[in-house]
């Protein structure tokens, strides 16, 4: 095929890419671009499939069968089962305006430039072979295509072509593309719509090309899958697609884990999935669309590999190039050209995205921090630095591609595509612990991450990179076979005596052991700074406080609005800064004055604006140059937290205290009420005693005087008057007795004659004494006493007094002739319950306790004058209490009062004794 044709097609293809990117960017500038949807997003993630997939998978399958699969299994697992990790990362990136994986890690561990720098260096070292791999595939495929003719492959592959190396031209073209479409915005966290659209387009091209070749091989050369596999089996190739019992599972495992880490940690994947993600929700579609893409693009890998093996049986042929050579030997030049374009698309997409991602990292995390340190670079000059930033990035892109090209020239010839790819994967995998542990464990510290990364990287160099140099002849081969200086223990493929694993598993094991181990141990042992702690919390709890302003709390000093705006303007452009500040003010209804002191929210806003352009670590340093005052220390963060908890504790205690006080006040108030009540009760008592004594005395005196003054009154009248005198005299005596009893009881000076008392006979005697009163009032009395009652220890006369008082009270409050009184005795375990129930008006609810107070007099029947002295129940209570019982009153549900008192008894055993 003519080189001119291939070159023309290549240039046309690249031109098409330029056109697409240009068109979409043009549209994006005018408004919402039509490429902003989950499908384009998913296709852009398919940048994962590089020329390694396009050519290398077939090569690997041709020799090792299904071994190519784990590389796609890992990403599938991550997207299908663990998409939450992506959601978390995307959320964090958007919130903090993260621009790259280096920025992400640096930001998580306290915005430290050193960490970002280390990540950048690892990335550059790890990615350069990968880029060279793409360049190599382009160059190789180009050579094979133009050196074929009429179904014959010419073996002049290493001849210099034309006057200049095509690979270099390709590299330069790609650099130009990346510069034009990847460095359009100064804010690296902004989206590059055109770039993403072009990458998505490339994903379509490479898939269509792969499927076309696959279809041709499977259905053109053979009669479908069955036929192809049957033919392969005839050629003894069935070992490639049979599942062997002695399969190398450790390698499968390693590759799966490696590719799981790679889909997250490869700088270009991180960039395209997280930084360029337009909307978080798009990821939901990608979780199944992306694995589907991987499945489709891999369907024909094994058939093409098998067909290649059959076709080139006995001939030395590069299995990595079956995609091209199969069509060529079948004289399908058009098809070969399509395959070439597919491979070209796979390679270019990777190179472009990787170069852009890397250039941002190199600029923001490597060059800028160094520039800020350099004395000769006076950062305090108020220059506009946007031009400088863009220049650094553009030069970085050129340097990256140049490095890739150099590596391709010197090293890549000795390795297959897959081997280079895996070495690159292993380098990227070193970021996984710092990222994944960092977003789930707040305790992961800067020193931990730094040590882990450094150790992992060193082991990666020692076990994978140096041996590859040895194989390229830059180091003596004895380095691999005998170890450095003949030290067996340090052989790079059997470090510390660990043998029996393949090289990749071996390298991954040691690097991850040291990486994770150091991250964990050093984090536990080292003290976090305030910013680390704040950032750790913000990253881990990103779903918790999305628009919180807590993140800005570590700026303690202040800066004026104009200082801040000027600073931001230098890096993102004066107009853009002014616009952003105006939007900020408008959003919050603020009127920002130039000399006004910026609050924490504005400081945070400015820092994030800067972070989008120059990365979080540099942004923090730059804001620090204008903020007068310093960053809070860890002890201050703790103090703030501590104070808060103390205040909470204190207010809690206050609340408790005031509740206690309220309670005490209420108690005091009650006590006071009670005292007042007692006082008025005493007053009342005296006045009642006076009244109760004077009333009978009045009658006595009146009738006495009447009889003295009127000796002539009739005999009947005289008798009547004398009777009154007698009655009132005894009433007076009774009253005085009661008063004295009560006083003695209350003073504890009562003369009790305690004895074993038979309750039954006492009750009966009391009822007999009441007989006259009962008859007089015509009430029905029912007495219910069990035959056998235990004895109680009591004063018999006083017990009788209680019963008489209760029953006569009951009679007093019953209606005449309709009254019914029930007296009953119940025996409980340790006490007797004696009840007197009536069918009178009952006791008002609030009076149940007061009826037992002295001189409490309930109005009698029909609201008449209270009958009696008001001392009866008070005396009953004194007596019952003295006997060790209780007395209370309740209302019967059917109406009427129920007085009950208890008397403790010694038990039934004593009945029989007393009965005998």
């Amino acid at each position: 095929m003519s080189g001119g044709l291939v070159l023309t097609v290549s240039i046309l293809y690249l031109g098409l890419l330029f056109a697409i990117a240009q068109f979409v960017d043009h549209r994006a500038d005018k408004g919402r671009p039509f490429t902003r949807n989950p499908y384009v997003y998913t296709l852009s993630i398919a940048v994962f499939c590089t020329s390694w997939t396009f050519y290398g998978s077939v090569g690997l399958a041709a020799t090792r069968g299904f071994d190519f699969l784990p590389i796609y299994l890992g990403p599938t697992l991550v997207f299908v089962l663990w998409s939450v990790i992506w959601i978390k990362i995307i959320r964090i990136c958007k919130l903090h305006r993260i621009t790259s994986i280096a920025d992400f890690i640096a930001s998580r561990y306290g915005k430290r430039a050193r960490l970002g720098g280390l990540v950048t260096i690892i990335t550059v070292v790890g990615t350069t072979p990968y880029i060279s791999l793409q360049l190599k595939s382009i160059a190789t495929s180009f050579r094979i295509l133009i050196s074929s003719a009429d179904g014959q492959l010419l073996h002049a592959a290493s001849d210099p072509i034309y006057f200049i190396d095509t690979t270099l031209i390709v590299a330069l073209t790609l650099a130009l593309f990346a510069i034009l479409f990847g460095t359009r915005h100064i804010d690296a966290s902004e989206h590059h719509e055109g770039l993403v659209a072009a990458i998505a387009f490339e994903s379509v091209v490479k898939m269509v090309a792969f499927l076309t070749v696959g279809f041709f091989v499977t259905y053109g050369l053979y009669g479908g899958f069955t036929d192809l596999f049957a033919k392969a089996a005839e050629n003894g190739l069935d070992t490639l697609f049979a599942v062997n019992a002695d399969g190398d599972y450790s390698r499968w495992m390693t590759m799966t884990i490696l590719s799981m880490a790679a889909i997250i940690c490869l700088p270009r994947q991180f960039y395209i999935t997280a930084v360029e993600n337009p909307e978080e929700s798009y990821l939901r579609k990608a979780t199944w669309l992306f694995p589907l893409y991987l499945l489709v693009i891999n369907i024909f890998v094994l058939p093409i590999a098998l067909a290649g093996r059959i076709a080139f049986d006995g001939v030395t042929a590069d299995a990595d190039m079956f995609m091209l050579t199969l069509p060529l030997i079948n004289d399908q030049e058009m098809l070969a050209l399509i395959a070439f374009v597919g491979g070209l698309s796979a390679a270019t997409s990777m190179v472009i995205v990787a170069a852009i991602a890397l250039s941002t990292m190199i600029c923001n995390d490597l060059i800028m921090p160094l520039l800020l340190r350099a004395r000769w670079f006076n950062i305090n000059k108020n220059d506009d630095l946007t031009g400088l930033l863009l220049t650094i990035r553009r030069i970085s892109i050129l340097v990256i591609l140049f490095l890739g090209y150099v590596y391709y020239l010197f090293a890549s010839e000795s390795y297959s595509l897959v081997t280079i790819g895996l070495v690159s994967f292993a380098a990227a995998a070193q970021f996984a612990p710092a990222i994944i542990i960092g977003i789930f464990w707040k305790g992961a510290s800067y020193h931990g991450a730094m040590t882990g990364l450094a150790l992992g990287f060193l082991i990666w160099i020692y076990t994978l990179l140096l041996p590859s140099f040895a194989q390229s002849g830059w180091l003596p081969l004895s380095f691999i076979a005998e170890g450095p200086f003949g030290i067996d223990f340090l052989k790079p493929y059997a470090l510390f005596g660990l043998e029996g694993f393949d090289r990749l598993t071996h390298a991954l094991f040691w690097s991850m052991l040291f990486n994770i181990g150091a991250l964990w141990l050093v984090s536990l042992l080292s003290q976090q700074t305030a910013i680390e702690r704040i950032q750790g919390t913000l990253f881990v709890d990103v779903f918790g406080h999305t628009d919180d302003e807590r993140d800005s709390r570590y700026w303690r000093g202040s800066a004026t609005v104009s200082d801040l705006q000027q600073l931001v303007g230098r890096f993102v452009g004066g107009q853009r800064a002014a616009k952003a500040f105006a939007e900020f003010a408008e959003e919050r209804n603020l009127n920002l004055k130039r000399n006004q002191s910026a609050d924490a929210a504005l400081l945070d806003f400015a820092e994030k604006l800067l972070a989008g352009a120059i990365g979080s670590a540099t942004a923090r340093v730059m804001v620090g140059t204008v903020v007068k005052g310093e960053i809070v220390g860890l002890d201050e963060v703790y103090r703030i937290l501590d104070e808060t908890s103390q205040v909470i504790e204190y207010s809690h205690r206050l609340e408790q205290k005031s509740a206690e006080l309220e309670q005490a006040t209420a108690q005091l108030r009650n006590a006071n009420e009670r005292l007042k009540e007692l006082d008025s009760l005493k007053d009342h008592f005296l006045s009642m005693v006076s009244h109760e004594l004077r009333t009978p005395l009045t009658s006595l005196r009146a009738f006495g005087e009447i009889l003295v003054d009127n000796p002539e009154v009739s005999r009947e009248e005289r008798e009547r008057f004398l009777n009154v005198i007698v009655k009132e005299s005894s009433r007076l005596t009774r009253l005085i007795d009661q008063l004295l009893d009560l006083a003695r009881m209350e003073a504890g000076e009562m003369d009790w004659s305690l004895d074993e008392v038979d309750v039954r006979s006492t009750l009966q005697e009391a009822m007999a004494a009441l007989d006259g009163l009962v008859q007089e009032n015509g009430v029905a009395v029912q007495v219910d006493i069990p035959d056998h009652l235990p004895c109680v220890r009591a004063d018999r006369d006083q017990l009788m007094q209680v019963i008489i008082n209760l029953v006569s009270n009951a009679i007093k409050f019953c209606d005449k002739s309709e009254g019914r009184i029930e007296v009953s005795v119940n025996v409980a375990d340790s006490e007797l319950q004696i009840s007197v129930a009536d069918n009178g008006r009952g006791i008002p609810d609030d009076m149940e306790e007061r009826v037992f107070e002295k001189f409490h007099q309930s109005t009698g029947r029909g609201g008449d004058k209270p009958q009696g002295s008001g001392l009866g129940l008070a005396i009953c209570r004194e007596i019952v209490t003295f006997f060790g019982g209780r007395i209370w009153v309740s209302n019967k549900t059917e109406g009427g009062a129920l007085f009950t008192f208890t008397l403790p008894h010694a038990g039934l055993a004593e009945i029989s004794l007393s009965a005998e």
Partner: protein, 132 residues
């Protein structure tokens, strides 16, 4: 026409003694057992004098006294309050409410009789116009 005395008292024996003394002195005696009965009795027939106990069921003597004093029909009704409570405060209150006299129980029947006669005369020859 003999003056009428309304005795308001809930102790039956005291009522009995007062009835005897007042009848002997030539007054017509009416009796009420509690405050409400007393007010009804006054509505029915305006007495010349009310002997009013303080500790009464339903409405106490103070309240009854107050109402008699606001009743225009009772402008000329005299009131003597009786109390078994010897508190000075009660006496002051009674006089303030418009009682003419305050008597503490137990009282002397002779003194009470004299007091009643002084306040109202059973026969008022000085003021009466002899129709003959």
């Amino acid at each position: 026409m003999t003056p009428t005395v309304l005795v308001v008292e809930d102790e039956p024996n005291i009522v009995l003694s007062l009835q005897f003394i007042l009848k002997q002195a030539g007054f017509t005696v009416r009796v009420a057992r509690d405050g409400e009965q007393a007010l009804r009795a006054i509505d029915d027939y305006v007495p010349d004098l009310v002997l009013l106990d303080i500790m009464l069921p339903r409405q106490n003597g103070f309240s009854v006294c107050e109402q008699i004093r606001v009743n225009p029909a009772c402008r000329n009704v005299k009131i003597i309050m009786l109390s078994a409570k010897s508190r000075e405060a009660d006496k002051e209150r009674a006089l303030a409410l418009g009682a003419d006299e305050f008597v503490t129980k137990p009282f002397s029947t002779r003194e009470l009789g004299r007091m009643v006669r002084e306040i109202i005369s059973p026969v008022k020859p000085a003021r009466s116009v002899n129709p003959n």
